[in-house]
């Protein structure tokens, strides 16, 4: 019973944090010249909860925050984009974590890269034109860069707070 309460509280805190970061990111003007290019600050929470609470809880946090922040700051389209990016990146983050080969940097970079891949796939489906993949190379590289940054932040947070902190 107490464990269950603890878990509910922890998920709520993570979801709230993720939404705050989503909001912060939506306030940063789009200075990137390509669609789908974002810092991905929210992934910090997803990565942290993946290490702290495991895949199932991290996945719920991810889904709930995509849905809620889509309703609050976006529209049905942005939910579809985030969902594709969020789910695909999450699958690859679990795979890279499970493999045991990678540190939090590698897991986060895989997340960043596949988030962008997921978004460009939806974009290609929406405009019904595969040639939009001209942006794919740019998005692969920026996904690595932002993923590295988020990996660094996650690493620092994990090191300071530690796993199973809550």
């Amino acid at each position: 019973m107490q464990l269950q309460t603890n878990r509910i509280a922890r998920l709520a805190v993570f979801t709230a944090l993720a939404m705050i970061l989503s909001w912060m990111e939506s306030q940063i003007p789009a200075f990137f010249p390509f669609p789908g290019m974002k810092l991905g600050l929210t992934n910090l929470v997803v990565v942290f909860s993946l290490y702290d609470s495991g895949p199932a809880d991290a996945f719920s946090v991810n889904l709930i925050r995509i849905f809620l922040s889509g309703i609050l700051f976006g529209n049905p389209y942005s939910i579809a984009y985030s969902m594709a990016g969020g789910v695909l990146s999450f699958v690859f983050m679990i795979l890279t974590r499970r493999s045991g080969l990678f540190s939090v940097y590698g897991v986060s970079m895989a997340g960043g890269v596949f988030h962008n891949v997921g978004q460009i796939l939806v974009a290609a489906a929406v405009v019904q034109n595969y040639r939009i993949t001209f942006y794919l190379p740019v998005l692969l590289v920026t996904g690595c860069a932002t993923g590295f940054l988020i990996g660094f932040l996650s690493d620092e947070v994990l090191r300071r707070i530690g796993q199973k902190a809550f």
Partner: protein, 121 residues
């Protein structure tokens, strides 16, 4: 950081380079500018023509298309982010400018009659 972590950026950069190489090898000068709105053909212009026109997108917002000196470009747009305006002018076969909010795609084609045109006709 572990050594294996570098595999991810390495793989991403390699894929990026290979993909660009693939697209570059397949690139030739185009001859026509196709405009798609919501996945359907809206208009076709010759790349040699001088065009200055407004394309209505799906939500009543417009994109301003200019074809000049063999390049097609979007110079103004009603969408909030105007990402299509920042994309550079295009002239090679297969290149595109995309406005996601308006679902407008400008693409350069080789000019030969494809199956899409047959269907549209």
């Amino acid at each position: 950081m572990k050594k294996a972590d570098w595999l991810i950026p390495a793989a991403a950069v390699m894929t990026a380079v290979l993909w660009y190489a693939f697209l570059f090898i397949n690139s030739t000068d185009g001859s026509e500018v196709r405009v798609l709105v919501d996945g359907k053909e809206y208009a076709v212009y010759s790349l040699e023509s001088e065009v200055d026109t407004v394309i209505p997108g799906v939500h009543g917002m417009n994109n301003h298309l200019v074809i000049h000196d063999g390049y097609a470009d979007i110079t103004e747009a009603g969408c909030p982010d105007a990402l299509c305006v920042h994309q550079k002018a295009i002239s090679k076969k297969g290149e595109t400018i995309v406005c996601l909010p308006n679902k407008v795609v400008i693409e350069i084609t080789g000019g030969e009659k494809g199956e899409y045109d047959a269907v549209a006709n």
